[in-house]
Symmetry: C3
Subunit: 491 residues, 3 copies
């Protein structure tokens, strides 16, 4: 919670919570409005407009925006007529109210932390941004020495703070490294695929850490029976049942979530795609990559800074690969689309009445999109090819690589493994869209089989530290020498 605060400041937290609520409201209302209250016949000029003032300008009647909007009562009637829409609206309203209550609660929490900052740590909120987390941490430790904030322990070290903040993250990182989580799927046609979305992660955390019936009884200690060897089969059965139940719940909510995801993605990305389609070809560290490359006890902002430093060489490395086959295809598709586009543009420039011919503008827009996408697959003539060097520069920042990477930087396998950590933004959006469908399937069919392994993992690798609670003991983990287990590692 301290950490969270460090990253934002009170006003920001409040604003982003507020805006999230407003966004939800906006998306729901605007979609309803578009579905029910717009007279598309008027908008598309399929139907002549019988104005009340038709007498004045019968031959060139201007269509104004209000003409295309249906009057209120007619609109309300159309909403009422469709039962499914009404159901979704009621659902959305209920969900929104629940989030409103949650937001208000967390607001109170933020306010408390804010007053803790101003009074106990002597950091007024407007100065918060210019204090780094190191400074805040140092003040915390000295405060503990003076005032004995936590009752459990006299001295609070930096390691303790990191352990408390990152308790669950450490477990997750360890599970990803031990390949305990079902993130690597083998699809029949597409080959091995790494799938880890926000939705799946949320469900897993719900199951293991803080949901009802999870392995942790409160925020800092495992339930006692997890530590007993005798109860492991019983526990695994319980966990598997919880997984299936959660999966079914996910399945039931799936349509609502899917509709929401689709709408939100459309509103967020449609305009971007039109304006700069290239941004979808940009890459980002995948959620899987973020867990895979994370050191134990590395704070979020440290990881973020480290991966950001690695972003540029990683992009260069990935872009230095080009498929000759794809290039040939892209060049030719680009040529065909471009030549039709050239003719259309030339005609338009010569006489703009061409644009009023139906679907010409549509064709121009779509062809433009095709050309841009095709052109993005054609590598620049003058690129310099040196994958080994680039990969080495990436590794200097991401700090980890499989043993078979060095020396094989130019091989396609290395690249595709890297692509699992560093995915296209388009892939990321697609994964998030598919998440509501795939998540319940994973929860019901794949995860229960691993329940026993997970229980064993928690039993074996948990250590209790005084004043901190149960933590993931990565000292015992032999996964790989993954950063120093002391404080953070990366500076």
């Amino acid at each position: 919670i301290y950490h969270f605060h460090q990253k934002n400041g009170f006003a920001c937290m409040m604003l982003s919570d507020l805006f999230e609520l407003v966004q939800f409201l906006f998306v729901v209302t605007f979609t309803t409005f578009l579905l029910c209250c717009v007279d598309y016949d008027v908008l598309f000029a399929n139907r002549p407009l019988n104005h009340s003032h038709a007498g004045t300008a019968p031959d060139r009647a201007k269509v104004t925006l209000p003409d295309a909007v249906l009057p209120g009562p007619q609109c309300a009637q159309r909403i009422g007529a469709s039962g499914w829409l009404l159901f979704l609206l009621v659902m959305a309203g209920a969900f929104w109210l629940w989030r409103l209550v949650k937001a208000l609660c967390s607001l109170l929490g933020y306010w408390e932390i804010r007053s803790f900052y101003t009074t106990a740590l002597n950091i007024p909120s407007e100065e918060l941004c210019s204090h780094s987390w190191q400074e805040v941490q140092a003040r915390l430790i000295s405060l503990q020495r003076r005032q004995q904030m936590c009752v459990h322990k006299r001295e609070l070290t930096e390691l303790d703070i990191h352990h408390r903040i990152l308790r669950f993250q450490n477990y997750t990182v360890a599970m990803v490294n031990k390949s305990l989580l079902p993130v690597r799927l083998r699809l029949p046609l597409l080959g091995p695929l790494v799938f880890l979305t926000q939705g799946l992660k949320y469900n897993l955390e719900l199951l293991l850490f803080w949901g009802p019936g999870s392995l942790f009884q409160n925020k800092w200690s495992l339930r006692p029976q997890c530590k007993r060897a005798s109860a492991r089969h019983e526990l695994a059965r319980q966990l598997a049942r919880a997984m299936v139940l959660l999966g079914v719940a996910n399945l039931l909510l799936c349509p609502c979530v899917l509709v929401w995801q689709l709408l939100y993605a459309f509103f967020s990305y449609a305009e971007v795609i039109k304006r700069e389609p290239g941004s979808l070809g940009a890459r980002r560290w995948s959620l899987y990559g973020r867990h895979y490359l994370r050191h134990f006890n590395e704070l979020n902002h440290e990881l973020q800074a480290r991966l950001s430093r690695g972003y540029k060489p990683a992009t260069k490395y990935m872009n230095s690969f080009t498929s000759p086959l794809l290039t040939v295809l892209a060049k030719n598709i680009g040529f065909f689309a471009g030549s039709i586009l050239a003719v259309l543009i030339a005609l338009t420039v010569y006489d703009e009445d061409v644009l009023t011919v139906q679907h010409i503008l549509t064709a121009v827009t779509l062809l433009g999109l095709v050309v841009t996408v095709a052109r993005s697959f054609i590598p620049d003539e003058h690129t310099v090819w040196c994958p080994e060097q680039l990969l080495r520069r990436v590794l200097a920042h991401i700090h980890y690589m499989p043993d078979h990477w060095p020396g094989n930087a130019s091989r396609a396998e290395t690249r595709s493994e890297m692509a699992q950590l560093f995915q296209y933004k388009a892939v990321f959006i697609l994964e998030e869209l598919l998440s509501p469908i795939l998540t319940p399937l994973i929860l019901i069919f794949i995860l229960p089989a691993r329940a026993l392994d997970i229980i064993d993992f928690f039993r074996n690798f948990t250590v209790e530290v005084a004043g901190v609670g149960d933590i993931c003991s990565f000292a015992q983990l032999d996964v790989r020498n993954h950063g120093n287990p002391q404080v953070g590692g990366a500076g």
Copy 2:
């Protein structure tokens, strides 16, 4: 004058003078034309067009451009009808004639310098560009040794040349560094603000250096009474009176200048804003920064090269700061505008008749602008934050910083002080637009109070050098060890 020539070459000087005159003419004529000679009712299709050939195509009459232009006599009549416009036109005509005469005079001067270059210095005009100023200077000095060009002194050194070229600039730099000029304002709401525009600078130079009644009696020596201690109060009173008079003159000319500035800014920037709104977010060294960071005796092109080298790190440094609050706001405004835009674009792509609905295109354009501006405030996810290093790289080029900067590179105060030297282009344009209003106010209300200080400054820090005239003796100035007082410093 030599220096001026070095930077351009004769043909360029002539052309840019010519084009300035043509630009003025164009702006005035085009604006008059737009105001009086265009039939907007026809252009906006509010009024059906009764063509002479209406019989041929009554249902789909094409509007051509000449239809929207009023015939000459009607146009002239409308111009004559508005007295205010007529007055402005006459003013503009007079001003233009005055500038024409001035341009012709300076043209003669250029021609003289050109023949000096070709005959005395042996540099034909087409080779001028490939000679650096150092070479020209060396030729000048050797010529002086042979031919005794200036009568005052036998030997002409590089220092002398620099002193002659930069006489007034050195005074201005010294005054800026001693904070004698009223460039730092404390506005009631906006806090401290640095305000120095071309207009204000022009007025100050008029007052102090080369206007009638200025401190300098000719281009190279102060008026004798400036040097006498007894006359200082009398002189200060005179100067203060001149300031107020100049301020009142500015106030009277303010409307004309303001209209001109607005028109010129619109014609220059409107199209840029539409095409790439990001260019307004670019930064440039402010006029204040240019004086503040200038070494004594540093030539224009040396300063320019030095600041250009510092441009890239300075931009990076300024961009590395992001306000989290602004980011949250920008993200959400971008989302709302973007989602409406997405819907409009989708509708347009589906059927282009949507565009004929009134104000849809306006909405699309404005929303696009909003989204672009909002997006420019959202920092890139993958930026690396290292302000100290960047600031050090900036300082390597700008050569000066206040004592409290190093070590505080990440503080907001450092950034805002830097922003005074390195301002947004949008701020620059705004300042220039406000200049006609603020300049007279400063001249009347703030500057007269400092008249005595200015007189004292000139009295104390002026040295007479044989063959050069009165110069600013920065050897006596203890402002800061601001570059070496020899030749230029930066190479």
Copy 3:
């Protein structure tokens, strides 16, 4: 042939051959369609449309795309009516059939090479991309040791392979360096000009290397009479006659080729010019530069990698030059076009009916183009000028420069000589367009005079190597110490 394969892989070769054929077909068909089958009166709304369903919406009849296309029979009739078009179509058809046959033959060749790769070299085609040429070469040599592939020689060295692959390229490079080829023209008005296009190069190769009656009797040895001193005059006469004949053939084919080049250039570049006019201002290594800078025995991909490394500094070097005169012109043209554009855009944003006024959109598009082009000539305010350093960085990669370059990097002559090697893309396109006209002229009027020199060159600088055939003996060439004559040089 081996080398060719190394660069692509079978599927790519096949696809690009296929697409070339399809492109040709597409260009021809689409142009015919545009010329004959589109009713432009309907498209430009000059003629009201008498729909069959005119009764439904008489006042706002929507024009759809099929309305503007003429029915099939009418279309065929119009094609038949124009004899010239029919002739061109028949020519194109014949040419296409000939290329189809050629493509099929080469396809068989590729298939053979592919099976050689898979069986003899053990490289399946999907792994081809991840094998570098070095690896393939090593396998080739070891295979030769085991299986005695070539009968002429027991041991095959890397040098032999390079000689066989680059036999003709080495001759061309040597001829370019000895200025034997007529690539430097002295035009009456434009001054010295370097002209070497794909078309001219193709003709030269046809003449010298693999055409009927060329100097080489087969792919690996010169005709015996070339080596005899006595026959040189006779041979030169033959060669000159062949040149004239080829030139006349070129002249006859000129209209067809010209039409094709124009169409192809329009389809390829029109859309690019509209979308990003800046790309025409990009530079590329000219064909002449590629031959001038090539080491002997340097493989294509090595040359490409070397020039690519030099691309960035070369671009920077060329861009660091700015003509002050051009800048002044560009600024003012940009201002005038921009201000008219600003007014048009402002009107459009205010009311989109302005767009329906005829030729407004045309004006907006053209003015936008003018502004963009003008703006590309205005140098950035903040560029740093250091040509010497940049030129040195270029030379580190291109490995060769005339003796008068170093120390004169800032002179205009150095720049214009560099521009011959590193030309604008626009110049490249223009040269290719002019090629069909200029090539026959060069072949008929300039080249025959040099026939004797060329014969002498071949006679003097050819060495026979066992198992390789006749090669260009650059050991005897004193042109310049142009890389090491062993294998490649650049790695």
